[in-house]
């Protein structure tokens, strides 16, 4: 089609002549309005539909504006959607959630409970706010999207490490300072169940444990090693199982912080002596936290075992490495082997067959060391390093050894100074 605009003298004449029988139809056509046919039904004027594309061809957008924007790159740039802000200016009461924060981040269990807390507030009615109470170091960046209206972050060194006595005193202090309608804890081995039980014993409340169906009035708990459903009135303190509620995903929240200065703490009876060194290969592969996994790209197996020992990582392997006899069958990661749940997974020389990717589906951070930049593992990984695995592993071991030596010499200096 040419760019020349053709005039239609007849149409112009009809538009000028208000007494022409077709005058109304032509005017409404010009304005883009509806056109009525002789029998009164609405007609579409096909020449008015669509728009002229960049190369002069007429385009009809049947996706109603949902297609990727034509300008710029062809990749569909994801637009940052600003979710509506949920604001509580002066809360009448609080529902306090004490998340586990495994590794400093909210787990999916924590997010479910935050969502449930909002559900409880809407059932109670009134201006209630969800407060998250966190101890120690926090790496989570999206408290606002997880549904946290108020954030209570207690960062005193007294709460670091294993300090259940100090923590429960802080919780009891917060309980006296705020009007707390419910305390919600994850019923998990990460410390949520322990802390919740301690608080319940301290406040003399009877908590709902292993709760999985929660409303403002009633709660259903598992009992007798999950063979019994106990229905009871919702108490003030509840420890909740996984998938008890739906996480927040349609609103943004303030996550403004509430400060508590000078929490009175009594001397505890329990002294934390730190984590013990455990033989990483004695930990079952399915629950290991840190896995160094080898595939077809490994040629120096002695160095691989040495690297795993130096890093303190549990050893894993792909199917090829197991079939070739370099690793035992119990070390195989993937659909036919073990489905791992590690937080950090280093895949050395594994290109990433789909069966292997299924096995690492629950892993948080994958690090790929590979010679092929186009393989599937690189697409999955948070950090990919393209190069020879032998060189990179030896360099990494040198770094870790230097770090360990430095740490031990520092601690020696400290002990001398003391």
């Amino acid at each position: 089609m040419s760019d020349i605009i053709r005039r239609d003298p007849r149409a112009e004449w009809i538009i000028r002549n208000r007494l022409h029988p077709l005058h109304d139809q032509y005017v409404s056509q010009e304005e883009g309005g509806e056109i009525r046919g002789p029998s009164g039904i609405i007609r579409k004027f096909p020449h008015k539909v669509g728009f002229i594309g960049p190369n002069g061809v007429k385009r009809i957008d049947r996706l109603k504006g949902n297609a990727a924007s034509a300008t710029g790159k062809r990749s569909s740039a994801t637009q940052e959607v600003q979710l509506p802000l949920h604001q509580i200016s002066s809360p009448e009461f609080y529902v306090v959630v004490v998340p586990d924060l495994v590794g400093g981040r909210l787990t999916s269990h924590d997010k479910d409970i935050l969502g449930l807390a909002h559900k409880l507030i809407s059932e109670h009615g009134g201006q209630g706010a969800v407060a998250a109470l966190c101890f120690g170091e926090v790496k989570e960046e999206h408290f606002d999207l997880a549904g946290v209206d108020r954030l209570i972050h207690l960062n005193d060194p007294a709460f670091d490490g294993y300090a259940p006595e100090a923590r429960v005193q802080a919780l009891a202090y917060v309980d006296t300072q705020l009007t707390v309608k419910h305390w919600l804890f994850p019923d998990s081995v990460h410390g949520g169940a322990d802390l919740g039980s301690r608080l319940a014993a301290k406040l003399g409340e009877r908590p709902a444990t292993q709760a999985w169906q929660v409303t403002a009035e009633q709660v259903v708990c598992r009992g007798a090693s999950s063979s019994l459903d106990i229905s009871r009135a919702m108490p003030r303190i509840a420890m909740l199982l996984e998938e008890c509620g739906d996480a927040i995903d349609e609103t943004r929240h303030e996550a403004s912080s509430i400060e508590f200065a000078d929490i009175p703490l009594l001397e505890g009876h329990i002294v934390d002596k730190g984590l013990m060194d455990v033989d990483p290969n004695a930990i079952p592969l399915a629950e290991a936290e840190f896995i160094l996994s080898a595939g077809n790209g490994i040629h120096n197996w002695d160095q691989f075992h040495q690297a795993a020992a130096t890093l303190g990582a549990t050893e894993g392997a792909s199917r090829v490495a197991v079939d070739d006899g370099f690793m035992p069958r119990i070390r195989q990661v993937g659909a036919t082997g073990t489905w791992v749940t590690a937080r950090v997974y280093i895949a050395v020389g594994i290109s990433g067959a789909i069966q292997h990717m299924q096995g690492i589906g629950q892993v948080d951070k994958v690090v790929a060391i590979n010679t092929d930049a186009g393989c599937d593992m690189v697409k999955r990984a948070a950090l990919s390093v393209i190069g020879d695995s032998e060189e990179i592993l030896s360099e990494l071991m040198a770094l870790v050894n230097a770090h360990r030596n430095q740490a031990s010499s520092e601690s020696e200096e400290n002990s001398h100074a003391a």
């Binding site: 014993a201 598992r222 459903d229 690090v367 690189v378 948070a382």
Partner: protein, 256 residues
């Protein structure tokens, strides 16, 4: 001087058949108690003295079991706390959670609060008791262990990572002495108002797609899960690559 150690036991439930059995974690608590004080160990149960399961515990080599006789609907905490207050124990061992009843795991916490003792949860082992403090190993998730010291007296809940309970011998179990005392008769009033039913299977969570248009739904059904666009290092030197991995490991705290 030997330390006075008391293990609390309960009636367990076999996970498949549902039969009454020696509770797994309580068995481990008795095992740990036997390791620490041998025949001096005192084993206490609050409930029915005719219960045959108690013979399975006794078969682990116990000469006698103390039973605080009470009905099933009564509160076990009341009789246990008055009994423990009178016994002047150093360490009380329990399981984390009972396998029958409410199984809230609250009994040790309420006892600790009532006696004013510290409580250590999920103990894998008690390594040493010296000068009025005990060195304990705590079981953490993912097979990790934490060392801690606690002042005596204290209550410890024993995790499933502790030493497995030894096999129970039938004959010695039958010959063991069951010493019954009358326990406190306090009705568990809150629990009387609860309704109990066999556990319903929990519904699996479905993946909800909150798409507004057909195009969005199509995208959600067909698109691969967005692989978080990771950082790719290709042309850097080997040192820089190794340093990047090392920094990530330090940030994730897997290297200490």
């Amino acid at each position: 001087m030997p330390h006075k150690i008391i293990s609390l036991i309960s009636v367990g439930r076999h996970p498949q058949s549902g039969r009454a059995r020696r509770s797994d974690q309580d068995g481990r608590a008795v095992e740990l108690g036997l390791k620490l004080s041998g025949s001096q160990l005192e084993v206490v149960h609050a409930g029915d003295s005719e219960e045959p399961v108690l013979r399975q515990y006794a078969g682990m080599g116990l000469a006698e079991i103390t039973i605080l006789e009470q009905d099933q609907s009564m509160d076990a905490v009341a009789s246990l706390s008055t009994y423990l207050a009178s016994r002047d124990a150093d360490i009380v061992l329990t399981g984390v959670r009972s396998e029958s009843g409410e199984s809230s795991g609250m009994v040790p916490y309420i006892l600790a609060e009532a006696l004013g003792w510290p409580l250590v949860a999920r103990v894998a082992d008690i390594v040493e008791i010296k000068d009025g403090t005990a060195e304990v190993l705590l079981a953490l998730p993912r097979g990790q262990r934490r060392a801690a010291t606690v002042k005596l007296p204290f209550i410890a809940t024993i995790d499933s990572a502790a030493q497995e309970a030894r096999q129970s011998a039938y004959g010695p179990g039958l010959r063991a002495n069951m010493v019954a005392q009358s326990g406190a008769n306090e009705l568990d009033e809150l629990r009387a108002n609860w309704s109990e039913a066999p556990a319903k299977p929990r519904p699996k969570r479905l993946k909800m797609v909150k798409a507004k248009t057909a195009a969005d739904r199509f995208k959600a059904a067909t698109a691969k899960p967005a692989g978080g666009s990771g950082k790719v290092m290709k042309n850097e030197s080997t040192e820089e690559k190794a340093q990047a991995i090392f920094d990530l490991l330090i940030e994730e705290k897997v290297i200490r």
